[in-house]
Amino acid sequence: MAGTAVRGRLTWQTATAGSVNDETATVRTIGLDVSDWPGHRAGQHVDIRLTADDGYQAERAYSIASAPGEPLAITVERLDDGEVSPYLTEELQPGDLLEVRGPIGGYFVWEPAFGGPLLLLAGGSGIVPLRAMLRCRRSAGSSVPARLLYSSRSWEDVIYRSELDDAADGVEVFHALTRSQPPGWAGYARRVDGQMLAEVAWPVAQGPLAYVCGPTSFVEAVASGLVGLGYPAGRIKTERFGATGQ
């Protein structure tokens, strides 16, 4: 019904898959070409809809991995019991079509004008919207102080590994590897806890802005931990991805 679309309302658009890039063994970034893409803000997501030959439809939300001004891209983690993710991460080919709706979201967004210091806390695939925020900060040439605490099961599961390692733009990155660590690992080797937060989080007196994203249990624990450090609830933004069975 493209002809009747009201400007500002959300409509399903056809997207053509462009580049696909495997970030890890189970995670893939997919570039999406949508004509007349209106642009997006860091932290927003898109809804993806797939329609099977028998008409069955499945819809899922995926965080946008690219910064404002960059081409639309999503990063998808393959879930073992997933209905949509196995297709997106293993079968989708460049040139394939899917339906996209977005950009969506006005709460879990950041832009340089919001200031900081910025504290980003990611659990697993929760890194995706936070990476968009970091790319936004970088492309804007922002000097807002930023720290990222990123929890993953192992080094092989870390998404955007080399990009995050480049601290040239002043972002401090802390990794917590919860299940296995490479030889000589000097970073955190346990799940995020109060002690770790106390060591990494910006002091409350600096008026930090925190964004927490990942599995629901991770978000609940970290948000509680930040409140325990004195962070005002209004300065903690959360986005829960549900349970991943881990």
Binding site: R9, L10, H45, D47, A61, R101, G102, I104, G105, G106, Y107, F108, P215, T216, S217, E220, K237, T238, E239, R240, F241, G242, A243, G245
Partner: protein, 86 residues
């Protein structure tokens, strides 16, 4: 064993559905629970996606605030659990 609460999403996940229903971005809208009076932004409410529809619960008292069910192309909306939504 994963606790039921760990499956819960939050209002961010239904951002698209809310725009369909209300015609505008709603995750920053503020809802007041009719059961306990707790005030929360929609993005921070507990969202459950049972196969037949979407249930949004108060994080403070677990009362159902909103339900959305899609039937034959029409979204049925129940907001009776909210005292207000602004």
């Amino acid at each position: 064993m994963i606790a039921l609460e760990d499956f819960a999403l939050d209002g961010n996940a239904i951002g698209g559905l809310l725009i369909e229903v209300f015609g505008t971005e709603m995750t920053t809208a503020v809802g007041t629970c009719a059961s306990c009076g707790a005030i929360s932004q929609v993005a921070e409410l507990a969202v459950y996606r049972p196969a037949l529809g979407t249930v949004v619960r108060c994080r403070n008292c677990d009362a159902v605030l909103m339900t959305f069910v899609r039937i034959r192309g029409i979204i049925c909306v129940d907001l009776e659990g909210l005292a207000s939504l602004t």
